[in-house]
Symmetry: C2
Subunit: 215 residues, 2 copies
DNA sequence: AGTTGTTCTAAACAGACGTTCAAAACAACT
DNA sequence: AGTTGTTTTGAACGTCTGTTTAGAACAACT
């Protein structure tokens, strides 16, 4: 690769993101990472203490960078409706997932199958995002519906996005082409419409049950 | 464990399902598996050729057993409506995922992150299920809607089920209790209602766009 | 009891793994 | 040129990996 210009530490981080993404934490070897980075194997100890320290640094780096590039309110005008905010949230999540897939499948893999030592960090980073989503949903779901049901809606929405990610089974098996931006936007609109309909149905069902209980 | 009664081969399969589920393919070691099964390490070679052969056998076993116990038309009366068939499909999928989580998280892990050597087998086993789902959806989605959009709906539904599975991030982080049957049924009803609403919204949007194009 | 085939084990093999250490290369400042 | 501190390396360490081998235990049948 480009062994020049950037310093060894950065090249190490870059290669580590690739290899961890391709092979997972256990599957990746520090030898492979260092070979791709063009550095000696002792560097991972010097810069990051050990393999786990390198993994943690890569993870935090990618997460914050993706969030900076595609924030949850991405592409919104100044006074957006709640529906528009939900669409922006879904679209930005899909973009982040796709971006990570490019060279950074590590994030996706971590999301699906978190490493034990990183669960705390993971919660720290993702919980604010869940807060954003549930705040958006509070403007869409009937306020009388129990919070548990709202959480179900949030899970349904995130689940759809996660499963659309290129790493998911369907796209692996059927060899779908890599997503282009337009395709992501199409999928984002589809998931948004589907989810708004789902929320509406949940609201209607709740109201119908409420009336039948009263009557 | 129960080193008696069952033969060594079965104990090996049982332990392998546990360990593969907990640690993944790379993370699991044949030594650990054989220790839990209470057999010598050479048995994996004798019965299954190598580690991969054992993994493949475990996978096929669990998949077919789960499908036999919770078929996609589970608990349907004799002349079900399309909505009821969708509900049965979702409910059976959730039950299978939960059953596998008990001792058989291997299936779930494979679904999220398939091992390279098993992609063909995986497609072979899951494609019939996708066929069932899309057949159900053909009775719900407007027949004029392009097939691609219908596939989006299928993905949305499966994605919701997958993400509700105990292995998913949310439940790991927030330490939800293990699902009981009633909870699964509740979630199945929620996902079904959500999805039916989603499909209806997709239909309405399509018709609205069609009218605006014509008018 | 003897033979045959299957099932299982303990011990050893070769290789890959993460990690460490002494020393080399380098930069910066005196 | 000499000193100091940082960065990087090659080689080695001990451990753990999947796999194999030679043989023990066992069952079934003669």
């Amino acid at each position: 690769m480009n062994s020049d210009e950037t310093c060894a530490r950065d090249r190490l981080l870059h290669a580590a993101a690739e290899v961890f993404g391709e092979c997972g934490y256990k599957g990746a070897t520090v030898r492979d990472i260092c070979r791709r980075a063009g550095v000696g194997i002792a560097l991972v100890n010097y810069h990051f203490r050990d393999k786990e320290g390198l993994y943690l640094e890569v993870f935090r780096n990618l997460f914050t960078r993706a969030l900076r590039e595609y924030p949850p309110d991405m592409g919104l005008n100044e006074s957006p409706s709640t529906e528009e905010r939900l669409h922006a949230f879904i679209r930005s999540l899909l973009y982040r997932l796709t971006m990570m897939e490019g060279r950074h499948a590590i994030m996706l893999r971590e999301w699906l199958d978190p490493s034990p030592s990183l669960v705390k960090l993971h919660a720290e980073l993702t919980n604010p995002l869940l807060k954003v989503l549930s705040e958006i949903l509070s403007g869409l779901v009937d306020p009388h519906i129990p919070q548990e049901q709202t959480a179900h809606c949030a899970t349904s929405i995130i689940g759809q996005c996660m499963f659309y990610s290129p790493h998911s089974m369907r796209f692996r098996l059927q060899a779908f082409p890599m997503y282009q931006e337009r395709q992501i936007d199409t999928i984002a609109r589809s998931i948004t419409a589907f989810s708004l309909g789902g929320i509406r149905a949940i609201n209607e069902e709740f109201r119908a049950r409420g009336e039948s209980h009263e009557g």
